[in-house]
């Protein structure tokens, strides 16, 4: 069986609220799968079902070949779970936390300590092994949570918002760790608000909205599926008037960004040839021309019709920057 996860028609209700309305997807062994969606879309409920924390009202979840309704202990022994909030015991040291994880997952007595030390080194925590978790930084706590989830060498790792709240450097280190683990053969299912992160890490992305999977494909194919407005950045050999660009056929909006222009064309026109014609007509040389491809964020917005908080914030900031410019 080449499927690490097989989810069929999951339904979960919390009173009147319907959290999952027939979620269906599968994750191939060895891949990095991103589960994306706006807040309250059903990501966490799906993960909670897949990790045995809750049961669906109907539908079936199979993890590493084990039915989560009947054989969840066997599945739990082979998966690692990193929740959104780091869940280390703050009164215990980093080393004790790792050893405790080893005990819970049945890592042999002889192997436990050695594996813990190995992971402390791997996650740059060796010099803090004897410190209680209370004194560690947020990034270190996050790394320790991941290390704890890896004590028993799981085949499948669930990462819920792994880099949320981390500084740039820690987030970068964690992304490298995810890539390395995947290279070693660990299947990874991650949820993230950062679409750029999903784009960089995931082989396949499942977009969930209102408890239903609305898109399931590779990031590149999802981006390619976005049609409509086309964005071009162009810079000319001499200054021009913004107004002239606005008068070109099919131009939706023009933004001046320093010495270049970001022009949005409607989907029906061919922007490059129009711009070349425009430059020739005025005796200008094109210094730079770049066609911007739709991002995963564009695909996400188009498919779900909603932006996660971070995307929304980023968009507002971009708008503000444009206005300032």
């Amino acid at each position: 069986m080449d499927k690490a996860i097989l989810v069929k028609s999951l339904v979960k209700r919390f009173g009147a609220l319907s959290a999952l309305n027939g979620v269906t997807f599968s994750v191939t062994k060895g891949c990095v799968f991103g589960l994306l969606g706006p807040n309250g879309a059903g990501k966490t409920t799906t993960i909670r079902i897949l990790t045995g924390l809750t049961h669906p009202d109907s539908g079936q979840a199979t993890v590493l070949g084990f039915n989560m309704a009947e054989e969840n202990l066997q599945a739990k022994a082979r998966i690692g779970v990193v929740p959104e909030v780091s869940n280390n015991y703050e009164e215990m040291t980093a080393l004790e936390n790792l050893v405790f994880s080893g005990e819970l997952y049945g890592v042999s007595r002889t192997e436990r300590r050695g594996r813990a030390v190995e992971l402390l080194e791997e996650f740059n925590l060796a010099d803090r092994a004897g410190d209680t978790v209370l004194g560690l930084s947020r990034g270190m706590k996050r790394r320790l949570t991941i290390a704890c989830a890896l004590m028993h060498r799981p085949e499948l790792l669930f990462l819920d918002e792994p880099t949320t709240g981390l500084d740039v450097q820690s987030a970068h280190q964690l992304r490298d760790e995810v890539r390395r683990l995947n290279k070693e053969g660990v299947t990874i299912l991650l949820t993230t608000h950062y679409l750029e992160e999903a784009d960089q890490l995931c082989d396949t992305v499942g977009m969930i909205n209102k408890g239903v999977i609305v898109a399931l494909d590779s990031p590149e194919r999802l981006k390619a599926s976005v049609t409509g407005d086309r964005v071009v950045e162009v810079s000319f050999s001499a200054p021009i008037h913004d107004r002239e660009l606005e008068l070109l056929l099919g131009v939706v909006e023009v933004h001046r960004l320093g010495d270049k222009y970001r022009i949005t064309f409607s989907g029906e026109v061919e922007p490059v040839s129009d711009l070349v014609d425009y430059a020739r007509g005025r005796g200008l040389r094109i210094a730079m021309l770049d066609t911007l491809k739709p991002s995963l964020e564009d695909a996400f917005l188009k498919i779900t019709g909603t932006a996660p908080d971070e995307v929304r914030r980023e968009k507002e900031q971009q708008k503000q920057r444009r206005m300032d410019a």
């Binding site: 924390l53 049961h55 994880s101 819970l104």
Partner: protein
């Protein structure tokens, strides 16, 4: 099953490491029963064995339930309980591990209290091993009661409120300050539904007689059944709450 039991023991050891020195445990576990006893017990005309068995049972009751109120609820609020739930160990064994961890605290305090009081009063303990067994069984029963209280709670203060709701009436009606025999018929009947009554009775029997009596064994049996009922009830409540 052995594998699950081993994991329950690891959870118990972790709880001992993490929760024993928390302030609420020390205040509720040792100071509260001592204060209650100084206020209500010492001034009464109780026989020494009744006095000592009452105090020791109270220490065990408050010590064990306090640990569980903190150990289960605080883990649920910090998210560490989910760490246990995602591990290959069932909720029943997790709760058993927690009850074992919580029940190790009571005996430590009880031995301290028992040693001090017997030394001061010069009282004789006829069956020391039977006393220790009664303390251990009582402690486990009260830890299971703490688990049940915490299963219904979202926050530590809520768990402590439920615990106190159970502990204080029990302290007065379980025979710690007033012997059950001297209570009115209705209260005497009511006291038979309280685990503290059986704990005090078992301890009193063990302190007075060198060989375990029928009453003593029956008391332990009732406490064991009470523990199992609380644990299973707590498991059921938590399962429902966790969805």
């Amino acid at each position: 099953m052995m594998d699950q039991f081993e994991k329950a023991l690891y959870i118990a050891r972790k709880d001992i490491r993490v929760y024993y020195l928390k302030a609420p445990n020390l205040t509720y576990g040792l100071l509260m029963p001592l204060a209650l006893y100084l206020a209500f017990g010492v001034s009464g005309n109780l026989a020494t064995t009744t006095l000592i068995s009452g105090l020791v049972s109270l220490v065990v009751l408050f010590g064990s339930t306090s640990i569980e109120a903190v150990a289960v609820v605080s883990e649920r609020t910090t998210g560490t309980f989910e760490r246990l739930l995602t591990a290959p160990v069932t909720l029943r064994w997790i709760l058993l591990g927690k009850a074992l961890g919580g029940s190790a605290f009571g005996p430590v305090l009880a031995i301290l209290a028992l040693g001090t009081v017997t030394l001061l009063s010069g009282a004789n303990v006829a069956g020391p091993i039977a006393v220790l067994v009664a303390v251990a069984v009582s402690s486990f029963a009260f830890a299971c009661l703490g688990i049940l209280a915490s299963a219904y709670s979202k926050w530590i203060p809520e768990a402590q409120m439920y615990s106190n709701f159970l502990r204080f009436p029990m302290a007065f009606l379980g025979g710690a300050f007033i012997p059950v025999e001297s209570m009115p018929e209705a209260l005497r009947l009511f006291s038979r539904f309280l685990p503290l009554t059986y704990s005090i009775e078992a301890l009193r029997e063990a302190m007075a007689k060198s060989m375990p009596t029928e009453t003593y064994l029956l008391d332990l049996l009732v406490l064991a059944a009470f523990s199992a009922a609380c644990l299973l009830w707590g498991e059921r409540v938590l399962k429902k709450r966790l969805g």
